[in-house]
């Protein structure tokens, strides 16, 4: 439930019915956030990482199979298990409802990685490097992380900050869903999604002229906590809801008009 004391309360809705598994969000995130290129070596070392990943599951038995896609990113939990275990407060909750990672403080104990139920925290085993011709494409607004620290999705906090700077300081308006859309301050993955499967918005009530488009989904899921998917009016649910991490990301389940026989 959005806390009234937040200045903003950023949230996201992932509509699995619209997701085609095209990996556009993954590439956009990679480019926006200076994520090292996942080379063949990194894959073989099982250290390839993405801040948002498309989990692909097969439903049914061959040849009668369906592919299911699920984008998984940092859920920005309100009750985040990664936060209390960090000995140096490198990860904490900020006043905008974001779970933030302070790279300078991180010593790399990797306890947060172990305590994240969603497996979205990534560790830099090597110092990142890019081919020389790609070095000029690095985003100047995003820190290039050194080796030995943990990193994860930030909800593109650099874009939110830019929006706050342009809209709230210079434009005299509040940053809300409309001004975000007008100024392209959405996270890179949201902006890149060709089917609009990802929706980003501000859940805080008093800052917005009208409630965010994503707010009804949150209200519905919050009104029926636990495994009560069937009671809900929308298709919304949270990942691993039984862990009570209260994520800021809500998933809308897929509507399959032709379900597999015997599938689940």
């Amino acid at each position: 439930m959005p806390n009234a004391s937040y200045e903003h309360k950023w949230g996201m809705v992932v509509d699995l019915d619209k997701c085609t598994g095209c990996q556009g969000c993954v590439i956009a995130c990679q480019a926006e956030n200076n994520i090292p290129i996942n080379t063949k070596d990194y894959f073989l070392q099982r250290r390839a990482y993405e801040w948002i990943r498309i989990e692909r599951y097969w439903e049914g038995e061959y040849p009668n199979v369906k592919a299911r896609f699920m984008p998984v990113l940092c859920q920005h939990c309100e009750n985040a298990p990664c936060e209390p275990v960090c000995p140096v407060y490198a990860t904490y909750h900020n006043e905008e409802g974001l779970n933030v990672q302070v790279y300078n403080r991180c010593v790399g104990t990797r306890y947060c990685i172990n305590n994240c139920p969603y497996q979205v925290r990534m560790f830099n085993y090597w110092h990142p490097n890019w081919p020389a011709r790609l070095e000029n494409q690095l985003n100047p607004d995003v820190t290039v992380r050194s080796r030995g620290i943990t990193e994860k999705c930030t909800f593109c906090v650099q874009r939110i900050r830019r929006g706050e700077l342009k809209v709230e300081s210079q434009g005299g308006q509040r940053l809300n869903d409309d001004t975000i859309a007008a100024g392209n301050y959405d996270p890179a993955c949201v902006q890149a999604c060709p089917t609009n499967a990802l929706m980003f918005g501000d859940l805080s009530e008093d800052r917005q002229p009208s409630p965010s488009a994503i707010k009804p989904y949150f209200d519905d899921v919050n009104a029926h906590p636990g495994h009560g998917e069937h009671d809900r009016e929308t298709r919304g649910y949270r990942l691993l809801e039984e862990m009570n991490t209260r994520p800021s990301v809500i998933y809308l389940k897929k509507v399959d008009p032709y379900p597999l026989k015997g599938g689940h």
Partner: protein, 462 residues
């Protein structure tokens, strides 16, 4: 139970100080070999700090591997010291006497070794100051006391401090003996360490009071250290097989199991190396063997309980980890084979070897059993920590496995060389069997008439 003959005090001094006053021929070759292994590991650690943790086998899923396993293993070994000296001292078990010093010193050295592990395992070890000490007053950001990773250094440093005090208090009378038998600068050092010990009744009284007091005060630390270490894992909500309340007692009992076994093996080695047959006698090894049967069985109970508690909830993600642990799977590493090996060599094989009295008194068999326990306890920690991370959640997409690489294996192997080297160096400078304790035991023991038999017994005034 006292079997050996009462020896004159002069001979006790001569025998037990032999390791200090004379250098055995094998000493420097052995120490050099161990030192070379430690040096190789130190270079590897340097390379690792220079190039990053990429040279280990850790990956984006399994982030705690050999180093953390080894950390818990050495913390476990360190529990032998208090178990043998404090608990058995309070329980007035006479057979503890020759074993106490070796156990306490092993405690200190294994704690020091254990503390290296989590530090080199971090991504940026040079920033470790932020973690535990000194506190970062300048920026007003204090360590996060909610995390077990801050409880850990507190508990371990408390344990290290109290164990060191314990050893020093027990060493003071022996320092005085050494002070009187050395010349030159060693005499100066021993004089300072002996702190004016003359052996008068008041000093003895204070020394005994301090020893008993520390024994009692160290007991809560003994229980809490490994409980807190176990909470590193027990508090991790996201890893099903770790998130268990049974971990604290399970780890403490396991620690005693491996620690006492390690002490038995160390004592057998010292007896052989320095010819201390009259001091470390078969009866002592025998008694430790009987203690170990009880400890091992208690540990086995917790092992079974941990598995039952895990499976009882029938949660999908917990079952996935248990399946990885116990069932043959499609992973490269067959954890189930290791699981069978581990239970066999940690419980069934050693307990069978400890049951007959004749085998408990055979030093070869005892050594084999104790090594087997320690190999098994190392495997136990590995099999407890790694499968949980490999199959972390219901989201099967991220399941992964872990294959340790040579730097990890080398560093882990070198920790054994490091502890052995420190023990050997210590034995050259300080007596590893407490002189005064042996003499005290000899004075207190006597023989009493039970029916027609004369049996040895020990009297205490209190």
């Amino acid at each position: 139970m006292q079997e050996g003959k009462v020896l004159p005090a002069a001979q006790i001094n001569r025998d037990l100080l032999r390791s200090i006053l004379e250098t055995p021929q094998w000493f420097w070759p052995v120490v050099s070999l161990l030192g070379a292994i430690v040096l190789a590991a130190a270079i590897t650690i340097g390379i690792m700090i220079n190039t990053g943790l990429g040279i280990t086998g850790l990956n984006y899923k399994v982030v705690w591997g050999f180093f953390i396993t080894n950390f818990v293993f050495w913390i476990g070994i360190s529990h032998a010291g208090v178990m043998l000296s404090a608990i058995l001292r309070l329980a007035k078990a006479e057979w503890r006497r020759p074993a106490t010093r070796a156990a306490e010193v092993l405690t200190i050295f294994s704690l020091m070794t254990a503390m290296i592990m989590p530090i080199i395992h971090t991504g940026r070890p040079w920033r470790i100051l932020y973690w535990a000490f000194p506190y970062d007053f300048a920026r007003g950001i204090w360590p996060n006391i909610r995390t077990p990773l801050v409880w850990d250094p507190s508990a371990i440093l408390t344990y290290l401090t109290s164990s060191t005090l314990f050893v020093i208090i027990a060493l003071v009378p022996d320092f005085a003996v050494l002070r009187d038998r050395t010349t030159g600068w060693p005499k100066l050092v021993y004089t300072l360490l002996a702190m004016g010990w003359e052996g008068n009744p008041r000093q003895w009284k204070l020394q005994i009071i301090a020893g008993v007091l520390l024994s009692a005060l160290i007991l809560p630390v003994f229980v809490s250290v490994h409980s807190i270490v176990s909470w590193d894992f027990g508090m991790a909500v996201a890893i099903k097989s770790w998130h268990s309340t049974v971990f604290a007692p399970y780890f403490v009992v396991g620690a005693v199991h491996s620690g006492v076994s390690a002490v038995v093996f160390a004592m057998i080695l010292l007896r052989w190396a320095y010819g201390w047959q009259d001091y470390i006698r078969h009866e002592h090894i025998d008694a430790l063997g009987r203690l170990l049967i009880v400890v091992a069985t208690g540990w086995f109970y917790f092992l079974v309980m941990e598995i039952i508690f895990g499976i009882y909830g029938l949660e999908g993600d917990e079952l996935a980890v248990r399946a990885l642990q116990f069932l043959p799977g499609d992973y490269g590493v067959a954890y189930n084979v290791w699981m069978i090996v581990f239970v066999g060599i940690t419980y069934f094989l050693p307990v069978i070897l400890w049951l007959p009295k004749a085998w408990r008194r055979n030093l070869w068999i005892m050594s084999a059993a104790c090594i087997s326990v320690n190999v098994g306890m190392w495997l136990e920690r590995y099999l407890l920590f790694v499968p949980g991370q490999a199959n972390k959640q219901f989201q099967t997409f991220t399941w992964n496995d872990y294959l340790p690489q040579w730097p990890e294996a080398l560093i882990v192997g070198a920790t054994f060389a490091f502890v052995s080297m420190l023990m050997l160096l210590f034995s050259r400078v300080f007596p590893l069997v407490p002189l005064y304790d042996i003499k005290e035991g000899d004075i207190l023991r006597t023989e009493i008439q039970v029916g027609r038999r004369t049996v040895p017994a020990t009297f205490r005034e209190d």
